[in-house]
């Protein structure tokens, strides 16, 4: 079967064979089941010549986040093995963007830790890059200068390469204001790529795009991920998108991980795949 391969609650449950029954039962708070996952090989090449295995392991450990009285994250645990592509889905306001801000170091959790390759992080992380929901390009810099915003040595070449990756090389000299929404988002993606992230966070970057452009972006993103193998977290409200792109889909509810499932269909995936469709149904019920 190519759809749901496993859901891994606590290893002890896996061992006792109870996991199968839990697989179709959501992990509500009442269940009190820790869902921290152990890394299990994906069987995909990571040391192959064309693949740069850049990914680092990301671990979120007992994260709590409150804004005054309002608790947004309540004991969120998630471990993402190096190089994995995780999609996070959840209702609006559930705290997905807040979580991304914690991981990248823009905000601090009320309690709990974020660690990368086992090292707890404090402050902004060079190895983590966040692609915001809006493109956030500097209007007063050309496309090329925006992509090379960090001005690291050799940034021009790096920026041109990244622009070529996203198919906008010939627009490098223009102002962002003249680009379309999808093009701006691609420039933002190129900027993130220049930063050579080990962990790439994508906060609903394609939310505002039309279906055709989104499909293009999906192909592009998958291509880049297969090549660079950064650990990737994609936030999306589109379950089909999640299932089509990710190794694993995580549903956030009530400030924690409520459902966690692996997607192990071969790439490139067919949108019409029936197992995927079933999995989508399944996830939708959890959101």
């Amino acid at each position: 079967m190519r759809g749901i391969r496993r859901i891994t609650p606590a290893p002890s449950l896996v061992e006792t064979g109870l996991w199968h029954s839990i697989m179709l039962k959501r992990l509500s708070s009442a269940d009190r089941i820790p869902v921290a996952k152990t890394s299990i090989g994906r069987g995909l090449p990571s040391t192959d010549g064309n693949v740069r295995a850049k990914g680092k392991e990301l671990a979120l450990d007992h994260l709590h986040l409150s804004f005054g009285e309002r608790a947004v994250l309540r004991d969120l645990n998630l471990t993402v093995p190096a190089g994995q592509f995780v999609a996070i889905v959840g209702r609006s306001g559930v705290g997905k963007s807040s979580l991304m801000r914690l991981i990248v170091g823009l905000d601090k959790p009320t309690s709990g830790t974020v660690s990368i390759d086992g090292n707890p992080v404090r402050g902004l992380q060079k190895s983590v890059k966040l692609l915001f929901q809006d493109a956030r390009l500097l209007p007063w810099q050309t496309v090329l200068s925006n992509v090379g915003i960090a001005r690291t040595p050799g940034w021009r070449e790096a920026a041109m390469t990244a622009l070529r990756d996203v198919g906008l090389a010939e627009r490098h000299g223009e102002w962002p204001a003249v680009l379309s929404g999808g093009q701006r988002q691609r420039v933002a993606l190129a900027r993130v790529l220049v930063g050579e992230p080990n962990v790439l966070l994508l906060d609903e970057p394609f939310g505002a795009l039309d279906a055709l452009t989104r499909a293009d972006m999906h192909v592009l993103l998958e291509k880049l991920w297969l090549r660079e193998r950064f650990t990737t977290i994609l936030i999306t409200h589109d379950v089909a998108e999640a299932v089509a792109l990710a190794d694993r889909v995580v549903v956030m509810r009530d400030g924690r991980v409520a459902f966690d499932v692996d997607v192990s269909a071969d790439r490139p995936r067919q949108r019409t795949d029936r197992d995927l469709a079933a999995l989508q149904e399944r996830i939708l019920r959890e959101v």
Binding site: V104, L106, L124, K126, K129, L130, F132, D134, R136, L138, P139, W140, Q141, I149, A150, R151, W175, P176, A177, V178, R191, G195
Partner: protein, 265 residues
Amino acid sequence: MSQSLSFRSAVERAAPWFVPVGLLLIWELGARTGFIEARTLPAPSQVAVAFWESAKSGELGRNVLISFERAIIGLAIGGGLGFVLGILTGVSRRAELLLDSGLQMLRNVPHLAIIPMVILWFGIDETAKIFLVAVGTLFPVYLNTYHGIRTIDRGLIEMAEVNGLGKFAIFWRVLLPGAMPSVLVGLRYALGIMWLTLIVAETISASSGIGYMTMNAREFLQTDVVVLGILVYAILGKAADTATKLIENRVLAWHPAYHAGSVSR
């Protein structure tokens, strides 16, 4: 067909001049027929003669130059100070706490009201005029610089931080260019105030400059020279405006409102 089109476009280009040229003609006619008394308002041709004579004697050039010099020095001091203070209070909360409310209080003093004090302090010296211009231009530049930095999209600053830019890089690449449109609005205001201040200051106390030239002419009932002075002020004001527009077109080339071709004027 194409001929009538080009004729129409020529008419369109000339259209803004119809009213001023018409008025000028009526004015000249009124003065020639004695309908307007020369002592009330000299004919345009008289003003032209006055221009020619004072330009030939070098008096006009000397006065324009001295006024221009006062204006520029005053603006450089006042605008420069306003810019620096605006950046300080815009960037640092501590500087804001320390300076902003004081500056806001001072701002509410009409700077022309302190002319008597300024004359007491500096006499009718150059310093007095430059001081007044500096005070007048400081606040518009200060306010707009401060406002410009404060209203920069937080998202852009976060983006810069996430992409590893340090404090200095954020200042140079995000805050300063982002505040520029607002700073230039402040500069425009300052230019208007600059000329106004100078006219008043030179009229009240000076021994050179265009304001002095007109005041002096008034005493001898040389209305043609008075009108000439007014025209010179108008031209200098327009020139300053054009200069800022050129700066805007250059500095704000990225701004959709300033894209080449999208702004007429």
